[in-house]
């Protein structure tokens, strides 16, 4: 039964090869992907190049401007902490939180959507009604409630709180895809051989949804980065001495009259990161999203 998905792979292979070609033509997206790779490497390697730690105070150079003395390449904050190190660490934290919560939200969304779409009937109706209700709530408030209740700044709480609200769109899309997949012959064949529902979902349905899953992963990541920095900006996310881009921007906003670079440095990194992820996500969804296979876009 492992080969039961053969009839679809030829078609989707064809589509994928063409769409990969399309995607490769999209130079802006490729450039953006390159910048993301660069930022990932910088976030990992960068802090090692500087002699400073994220929480080390340099009393000689407090609030020093960028390209300043003593290898403070991007300046220091009011306490003399090195901004290059803190910002790159912030990028790293933002990336980690967004990746983990994207994974969480995809796991929930794909399971929810696939089960609802495959099982159907009343279960489907109930599950999707629940999604509708959650959809009409401003989700950031749920996150704020969750961060109010649990230990502040604990990374697992942040992963969970942010990931728990991002899965709704994914669930809807995956359900729609599952509905059409469930009617295909190879699923019927699998059922005829007596495969159990979980087995069918795991081995036949979900592997065939790889395209939309990748697209929604790419579209979810920048949203998660935004949520995380939003919370950290308000003081509800990552706590001192750790820094994320959001909390650095908040620190910078307090000091912008005397030390504008404290605001500009992390803000630039955040905006570049968000724009690159958005570009890559849009390009991927143009290329892989089955909803507009024809590619007839304005």
């Amino acid at each position: 039964m492992t080969d039961s998905s053969v009839p679809t792979t030829t078609l989707s292979d064809f589509r994928r090869s063409r769409s990969l070609f399309q995607w490769a033509r999209n130079r802006a997206a490729l450039g953006a992907a390159g910048v993301i790779c660069l930022l990932v490497v910088a976030a990992i390697v960068g802090p090692l190049l500087s002699p400073y730690a994220i929480d080390s105070l340099d009393w000689q150079h407090m609030a020093a401007a960028p390209f300043g003395p003593d290898r403070h390449w991007l300046g220091t904050d009011r306490l003399g902490r090195d901004l290059f190190v803190r910002t790159l660490n912030g990028v790293r934290i933002s990336l980690v939180i967004s990746l983990v919560s994207t994974a969480i939200s995809l796991a929930i969304g794909v399971t929810w959507g696939a089960v609802a779409g495959y099982v159907g009937g009343r279960v489907d109706e109930l599950m999707m009604r629940f999604v509708d209700v959650l959809y009409s709530l401003p989700y950031l408030f749920i996150v704020i409630i969750l961060t109010t209740l649990f230990e502040r700044g604990s990374l697992p709480v942040l992963f969970f709180a942010i990931g728990a609200v991002g899965w709704l769109t994914t669930a809807r899309i995956i359900r729609g895809q599952t509905l059409s997949l469930a009617r295909r012959e190879f699923i019927e064949a699998a059922r005829a051989t007596g495969a159990s529902t979980p087995a069918i979902l795991l081995r036949h349905i979900i592997p065939n949804l790889t395209g939309p899953i990748i697209v929604y992963a790419a579209l979810t990541i920048p949203q998660m980065i935004l949520f995380e920095s939003f919370l950290s900006f308000l003081g509800l996310g990552v706590q001192e001495p750790l820094a994320s881009l959001g909390s650095l921007i908040n620190d910078g906003a307090q000091e912008m009259q005397s030390a504008p670079w404290m605001l500009l440095v992390p803000a630039t990194f955040l905006v570049v990161l968000l724009m690159c992820f958005n570009l890559v996500g849009d390009a991927l969804s143009d290329a892989l999203d089955p909803r507009d296979v024809g590619g007839a876009r304005e």
Binding site: L140, I145, T147, T148, L149, S229, L234, L263
Partner: protein, 307 residues
């Protein structure tokens, strides 16, 4: 239309109940109580506090009490600002927040529709390219980046407008916050408008209108805009949610005494009743505006209500 309206209105009630029930139980079942951080309360004082706030009752009784009080518009006492009830705090902040939100929404609609139509009409020219790039930038720039930057440029360097603070009846204090709040929404609206105007321009009835010899201006105002703005109407609901969440940031950045700042402070101070009250107020607002959007949409586009 009536059946459609009744069905949509009936659909709102469970949502509101879910908001209220979920925020109540999440808050009550969470580890830790509102008085945990205050050190060395003697047992008697603690018992008295619990009795005053009703914590000695079973949770179902507390829930029933909360619902009953809520139906009278009473959100209970604030746990941290002892002299105020949550209702009083909301009543203080709401005028500021409502003015800010409404101004921002109108500004976003005006900017977004204007730029969107301009980009669609001048498709594939430098105007279109410029607007589209601005839109990408506007959507990628979150309010907590735009706000401080605007305050820095216009408040600190140019000194045209106050960088923060608020005085009643002084519109100058509203300009930067409203612009900050409106920018990302207007970017979305511009993108929506652009693509839907382009789509309508390709429709058969527009070709017919052209064939009849109508001028472009006439076609644009008389035939294109109404159907093209339908997606924008349906975006007003989500946009409200966006403006509401954005106002949390904007009120914090510019130091406005609105409800958004209370919510943030309440969350930081773990003032449970305040957070709950705010979430209920904002949640209701968003749900009602979504409802209104759906009704207006159903009224504008008959295809929707005959589903």
């Amino acid at each position: 239309m009536l059946r459609y309206a009744v069905r949509r209105i009936a659909g709102v009630i469970p949502t509101l109940l879910v908001i209220i029930t979920a925020s109540f139980f999440i808050v009550r079942l969470a580890p830790g109580g509102p008085f945990d951080q205050e050190q060395t309360l003697s047992r008697e004082v603690r018992a008295n506090l619990d009795r005053v706030y009703g914590f000695d009752q079973p949770i179902t009784v507390q829930y029933a009490r909360y619902l009953r009080a809520l139906s009278h518009g009473d959100f209970g006492p604030s746990y941290k600002q002892r002299d105020f009830s949550v209702t009083e705090l909301i009543a203080q902040g709401l005028p500021v927040s409502a003015t800010l939100g409404l101004t921002a929404m109108l500004l976003a609609l005006a900017l977004g529709i204007g730029f969107g139509v301009a980009a669609a009409v001048r498709r594939q020219t430098s105007v279109d390219f410029g607007i589209t790039s601005l839109v990408v930038l506007g959507m990628a720039l979150p309010a907590f980046v735009v706000g401080p930057l605007l305050a820095l440029v216009f408040g600190v360097y140019l000194q045209w407008l106050p960088a923060g603070g608020w005085e009643a009846g002084e519109p100058r204090y509203f300009v930067l916050p409203a612009v900050t709040l409106a920018l990302p929404v207007s970017a979305y609206i511009a993108r929506l408008t652009r693509s839907s105007v382009l789509e309508v321009l390709r429709a058969n009835f527009i070709r017919t209108a052209r064939a009849r010899g109508l001028g472009f201006r006439r076609i644009l105002w008389g035939h294109v805009l109404r159907p093209a703005l339908l997606p924008v109407v349906s975006y007003v609901g989500p946009a409200t949610a966006f403006v509401v969440t954005g106002s949390l940031v904007v009120e914090t950045v510019f130091g406005l005494p609105g409800t958004g700042r209370y919510l943030v402070q309440g969350a930081i101070n773990r003032d449970y009743t305040l957070v709950m009250g705010m979430v209920i107020v904002y949640g209701t607002l968003v749900v009602l505006l979504n409802l209104l959007t759906d009704l207006v949409y159903g009224w504008l586009d008959p295809r929707v209500r005959h589903d």
